[in-house]
Amino acid sequence: MNIKITHNWLLEYLETDATPVEIQKYLSLCGPSVESVEKTDDGDYVYEIEITSNRIDSASVFGIALECQAILPMFGKKAKLILNPLDKYRFADVETRHASSLQVTIKDPSLCSRFSAVVLDNVKTIPSPDFIQERLRAIGIKVINNVVDVSNYLMVSFGQPTHVFDFDKIGKHTMIMRESKKGELIVTLDGKKVELPGGDIVIEDGNGELIDLCGIMGGLNSSFTDKTKRVLLFVQTYNKQLIRRTSMLTGQRTIAATYFEKGLDEERVETTLSYGVELLKSYANAQVTSVVTDIQSKKYSPRTISFSLSEINYKIGVNIEPKQVQRILTSLGFGVQSSGSKYTVTVPSFRQYDVEIVEDIVEEIARIYGYHNLPNHLSPATYVKQPKAFEDLFVYQNKIKTYLKHIGLNEVLNYSMISLEMIEGLDLKPSDHLFLSNVMSEEIKYLRTTLLPSLIKNIKTNEGRKDQLKLFELAKVYERREGDLPEEKYKLGIAVTTSYEDLKGVVEALLQELHIQESLFTSSDNSYCSSIQTTLIIKGKTVGTLGKLKTQYKDKNNLSSECFIAELDFDTLISHARTISTYQPLHPFAIIKLDHTVTFDKKITFEMFKNRAFKKSKLLQKLDVVDRFKDKITVRMYFSSPTHNITEADAKKELQACAR
């Protein structure tokens, strides 16, 4: 989250000679990142600062002052806290009376780790003093009136949101804090009617009305208006998970919620309420007429962490002076005790959710010392063996992608999740697919079990953009397994709009590139393809099918052109790949080439003819298709012997044997 504070506001707590630009630069290197610093018309400066989720304690003017105190001296700048509100503003100093009283019941102590409230009477609603107005305006908070402004001013000062109720609108002056029931309604301050998901922290008054959606926004029915005389200043810390859940589920992402959902320091409740009373007394003429209600279900018992200096230096990689360690930790609010090189550090309450182990202390010391002051070292060289399976996977992925690119195919990457429509587009079974339970779009609900629906969609998307499309994708599919994670298998999917021959040519060329010599194409009956289809088999293992998309599916997917698709199992494919082919020794004897035209039909395919030819003739070295016309195919056959010269007559005899 980002916060904004002003430079003058910061100077209320900090004495420094650093300029706003220096503060921006140095804080960003060693602490919270200051994304911008801009000058206002009044001559003040506004910082916009990113606060990480663990450092919500620093999301305030005071929090940044503490960071400055630790960081700026490392850059030769003076920086000293001149006002510590944690010491100055205490409940003990709030003058209380007994004229009004609030009845409080908290149904479950885990909802609220600290509950505090106080009644103030005779509130006069007028504009805030100039310094409050100027500061709030500078950081983009709308100025309303003294009471509302004080509430916002407190939040920015200490990072603790507060709420102001109209005390007389709280039925029977009674508050019952409880978890909401599903479907309960509350109208929040902004006029929105919010239907509660259930399990939200709410407050019900003595009349059974919901008056607060805690940590998110107060109810409209009990809100402060300019007619309000008696106010209830309300400062709490809540169960952070419940706040986040309610905020996300109701869509009410208020600033208060972004604070509470990160877990606030219970001790700062006291500072905030006490300072709030002081401000309302000064600027709204208010008087306290009740005691301070303070219910704390959980009290922080200070944590200590012990370590030795050498441990710290070992983890950081340089030697840091004991004096430096002492100064850094003290300036951040830690208690430090040391004897020799042994240290015991006490963690302040505002860091209780963040600093737990010695590594957290390492971080504090190292960041303030300055990461930019550490040298760069490559990690020490060592040899770790890469398993063969990983190596093959990546080497062949790259090889195959590069090869397909060079023969004119375009690689596409699709989402791993597809829509029900895409599943139905190929009549796949939805129940075979894993699907997301918190789906954000129906388009990406089901995990793919095949790459083909995505590739078909790609063809559709690109119709009219290019005459011929030749796409491939190499990605995982996810096959569900009972009681286990799905099997993640890499597939190579190809889709072209050219022809079956073209698609088969791509597959054959790839087999050649991978030096796979034992491949076989057999008849197949894949349900997405027309009768023009074949299955690739290598050494008895099925690798995948290629063929023409059935007209039925072409229509179902609204394709205007024909589509030819292939999907190969990547692991099976590469398990047969070789770096080079089997070497054939060269020989000096003649090669006789003979052309032969054959008429093929369903009963005798080219594959069968070829297999038989090689079986019948020992002299046949190679067989190519050189021409095709209707059902006639001309093959060129290469005959030779590695031991002697053969004659044309010998070759013709062989050919006859092959063709018979």
Binding site: N54, E359, V362, P375, H377, P380, E411, V412, L413, R480
Partner: protein, 346 residues
């Protein structure tokens, strides 16, 4: 038998018709070849009287020299004409070869893998569909952590595993950290894991699927300077030697300390100015690269590695992010839309 003059005029005639180098070659052979006309004239020598022989011989010699010269001259001329001739428009395009493309992300993955391979990191592959244990518990992210809710992680509708928890689409490559620790058993670990990751976020600057690359180094004596040096090495190798890296404090559950890495803005080179105007790409001369940190002791424990003996660093960066920073291709929605006009450019 033709005389010397006849041969000369015959030659001059035929030479006019020698329009190309092949014809000239034939002409040369028929006159100057072994069985050519000059040699035939020389054969007549024996029928001459000794007095005639001297002048006859001289004449033949002159003829031979003259023919040789003429042929050579014409040969030069024809060769020159051949090299300069023709009316080919040399500016026309040549034969078109197939040109396909590899996806931008695949290209980046190769670049990244190679950089780390050279400094001894091995690339691994781990599940994309994971259990909560590997994505969260083992990474020191308790059940209550915000990243684990429905708004930050895509969950699979599957029975909850009694030991490993809910099934999900891994929201980061860090899920591979403990798997790699288990695989190796005992440090050293030098891993680079590049994979698809998923989060329920789909708008102008986010896609529900994206790629991350994760580095993990675990060994004895690994400290912050090693993390810093290795990242600086990557930044310089990938983006260029004029690019610097820097670390800023940050927070992640699975590292302690945690950092955010910035690199010098690749557009303004850290000057914050482009042709006099303010750089539109960066804030203050730096660009955010991603998150990193020293491996949290709880993660090492989950990986069955003794955090007292070993330490390590890890980082996880977005592949699309580094592509955008290096090549300026920032319309991320095009990456996975399958538009051929986008794909074929790479």
């Amino acid at each position: 038998m033709a005389g010397i003059d006849d041969i000369r005029s015959q030659f001059n005639n035929e030479l006019k018709h020698a329009s190309d180098l092949d014809k000239l070659q034939l002409l040369e052979t028929s006159y100057l070849g072994r069985n050519g006309k000059i040699n035939a004239l020389l054969a007549e020598m024996k029928s001459k009287t000794p007095e005639e022989r001297k002048s006859y011989g001289q004449e033949i010699n002159e003829l031979k020299q003259s023919l040789t010269l003429q042929i050579t001259q014409l040969k030069t001329l024809l060769s020159t004409r051949k090299d300069q001739g023709g009316d080919v428009d040399v500016t026309l395009p040549g034969t078109v070869y197939p040109k396909g493309s590899i996806h931008l992300v695949s290209i980046a993955i190769e670049e990244i893998s190679r950089i780390y391979e050279k400094i001894g990191f091995i690339r691994t592959s781990y599940p994309e569909v994971e259990y909560e244990f590997f994505s969260f518990e083992s990474l020191n992210m308790p059940k209550s952590h915000a990243a684990r809710d429905d708004f930050e992680t895509s969950f699979i509708d599957a029975p909850v595993h009694s030991k490993w928890g809910k099934m999900l689409l891994t929201p980061h490559t860090s899920s591979g950290q403990v798997r790699e620790m288990w695989r190796v058993g005992k440090p050293p670990i030098r891993m680079i894991n590049i994979a698809k990751t998923y989060r329920p976020n789909w708008d102008a600057t986010h896609t529900p699927m994206f790629f991350q690359f994760e580095g993990l180094c675990v060994d004895e004596g690994i400290n912050i300077t090693h993390l810093k040096g290795t990242l600086d090495h990557f930044v310089k190798e990938y983006f260029g030697s004029d690019i610097e890296g820097r670390l800023r404090p940050h927070h992640f559950q699975f590292t302690e300390p945690s950092f955010e890495v910035d690199v010098t803005c690749t557009v303004c080179k850290g000057t914050t100015k482009v042709e006099g105007a303010k750089c539109k790409v960066c804030k203050s001369g730096w660009l955010e690269l991603g998150g990193t940190g020293m491996v949290h002791p709880n993660v090492l424990k989950a990986g069955k590695i003794d955090p007292k003996k070993y330490s390590g660093w890890a980082f996880g960066f977005g592949v699309e992010r580094v592509i955008m920073m290096k090549y300026g291709i920032d319309d991320i929605r095009n990456y996975y839309a399958g538009d051929i006009r986008f794909l074929e450019q790479f």
